[in-house]
Symmetry: C2
Subunit: 397 residues, 2 copies
């Protein structure tokens, strides 16, 4: 992802502050909109998901004003204490930011099962937000940095569309490098825009993006209790997205922003040294194509062989053969970094040395052609390294 | 597993020799039976499985005499060359061992996609098997050692049943420490017995054991192209297994032997430092119970946290919540090493320090009570260590 700054669209103030969840680094991201925002989102379907997700799902039916993200504590699996904590925080923030508690969304990321220290955090939040706006902004470390946990880099993607007086900004920001997996909005991701967008339209757009972008990435195959993807539109640009051509431009901007964030999450996967793109082509159904790319992406043997820069295609073929998709193995071809290595149930003579050389690079492309239909699917993942083990064996409790 | 020697039941000769697949260590295991053996087996369902599996499936419909296991080459994904290789080997071995080629089963384990050097191996096999029997036996390194690949230890389990003149020996041997996963006979495992057993009865027994034992272990979640579990009964003890009570004794012996082998495979999992037992209790269906134990066993986050000796129960709960099983999270309890750590959607105060201490040991027990039914399931797995990454990043091609 190209280096970029996080651009707040018109009417948005984005802050990153320390409220005491962490010793010194910023731990709280705050998005404030001047005007009520239309909000749409998708959320983790984990049965033990944080109650904050249920709260957000209920609140975004109506316009909201504020999103606060706490990094360092998941506020999950702590029973009714999680609800009390959210009541305390949203009441405090509401008073300070001049809106109702139910206009304030709360997200959490961090350790599961620890009581959220709501009173202390609330007191600190009060102190910070009581300062003059200019001083708060000066002290802000930026929203993208404040929401990071084990992330090594900020994940940002911004673009401007509809040039002219009523141009529109689309600004995305995400966090996450573990617990990333399909079947849900797979981390914390927020996209802000100053376009004016209808709720129903935004709802359907967000669902499409979750399916086609965020459900097609994986770091380690686990889905968190707190994964959320939210889009906020406050209309402050004065530009409605209404006509067919406006919608096409807006959809592309939203999709590209999400894709940049998704790629950034995989590139910053815990311990990742390689960025792996997997494509299944010419498959009888999208469902089977997805089964194949997911099986390859989630194979520990594939991920470790790529960490070792070794084009061990047997493991890739083997993962596809276990995916549950139905196909004739005799018709399958496998390409590694655009070079044919396997066809007619056997390896292609002489192909491996060149592929091996290309595997020392950062980007690995796996393309498997099934040849029993016309559907395709792609997937992004990263390798499994010593560092992944280190990060996850050392992390808490 | 207690240290034990591999006992050949009556009428069996088991050898471990070097036929040149590997530089110096034994690479070929041979089981020869004086009398024709009733054989039953289950095999990998990977679409790219080795053609040797299809050959075995077809041949065990009738009695067989010999099983040869080659370690170092999977003879898989090499097209029709795999079939030619098997024709050459079985013809040579048939002439030397005085039986028909179709009485000789062949198994392979090792790198996928490399041409099996049948002519060279056949010539070496001829040299070895032409020696006088006593000399062959003297040079033999033992069957269990010869079939190993990345295994660190031999996997053996033997017992004697029906004491007296016509006592029966049940002897099991397995290899495998990677590519171990449910949904099939998950490695190479052989159980030999000198009992006389009917084919149909043995078929059904072997299927039961595959489901209840070998499909309930996992090292890394991948299923190989060559996984096979075979039981051979040659009747040389003169003892038939026919009456109800005889069958019960025999079934228990077979099951216990298989269980020992399965546990040994997990304990020797690539890079494993911990042996993890996972139980789901009081579940509405066996299917849901299996989903839960498998999801926990295959979570990289759970496996790395246990490597770090850290009772991070949030990850375990989280994996159960993603398993696809349907249950009420509010009713779930979680026990780690027999101590309650989670109940009523929150952690149990004060439980963690004691659990943490016990997590420094080798054996970890995870027990999750779902409380919506009467079914149970268990699963064995191991942790994910630096060594796992090292072994799999460095392995071939």
């Amino acid at each position: 992802m190209k280096k970029t700054v996080f651009l707040s669209p018109a009417g948005f103030t984005c802050l990153g502050v320390n409220t005491g969840l962490r010793l010194s680094r910023p731990d709280t991201g705050i998005i404030i909109s001047e005007k009520p925002m239309t909000a749409a989102g998708v959320f983790s379907q984990n049965l033990f998901r944080s109650l904050s997700l249920d709260r957000s799902i209920s609140l975004i039916k109506k316009p909201v004003r504020v999103q606060i993200v706490f990094s360092g504590n998941a506020n999950a699996c702590t029973g009714q204490k999680a609800v009390s904590a959210m009541n305390i925080i949203s009441r405090t923030a509401g008073t300070l930011l001049n809106c109702r508690p139910e206009e304030i969304l709360l997200s959490f990321t961090g350790v599961i099962g620890r009581t959220f220290p709501a009173d202390a955090i609330s007191a600190n939040l009060q102190k910070i937000l009581s300062s003059p706006p200019e001083q708060i902004k000066k002290q802000s470390a930026g929203f993208p940095r404040a929401i990071m946990t084990t992330d090594l880099s900020e994940k940002i993607s911004c673009c401007r569309i509809f040039r002219g007086k009523h141009s529109v900004v689309v600004s995305g920001c995400a966090k996450g490098s573990g617990m990333i997996y399909p079947n849900m909005a797979t981390m914390l991701a927020y996209i802000l825009t100053d376009a004016a967008v209808e709720k129903k339209y935004l709802d359907s757009l967000v669902k499409d993006i979750a399916v086609s972008v965020f459900n097609r990435i994986s770091v380690d195959g686990d889905t968190s209790t707190n994964d959320s993807f939210l889009v906020f539109a406050n209309g402050c640009s004065g530009r409605p997205v209404a006509s067919y051509s406006e919608k096409k431009v807006f959809e592309k901007a939203l999709h590209d922003t999400a894709l940049q964030l998704a790629r950034a999450i995989v590139a910053d996967g815990e311990g990742a040294t390689k960025f792996i793109t997997i494509c299944a082509e010419k498959v009888s159904s999208v469902k089977d194509a997805e089964k194949i790319v997911r099986a390859i992406a989630n194979s520990s043997l594939v991920k470790t062989t790529i960490f070792g820069a070794d084009p061990n295609w047997g493991r890739i073929i083997c993962a596809a053969g276990n995916s549950g998709a139905i196909f004739n193995p005799a018709k399958v071809s496998l390409f590694l970094n655009n070079r044919l290595v396997f066809k007619n149930l056997s390896s292609v003579p002489g192909a491996l040395p060149r592929v091996k050389k290309s595997f020392s690079g950062k980007n690995i492309e796996i393309r498997i052609t099934i040849n029993n239909g016309r559907e395709n699917a792609h997937f992004f993942t990263c390798d499994f390294s010593y560092e992944y083990i280190k990060i996850n064996a050392d992390y808490t409790t």
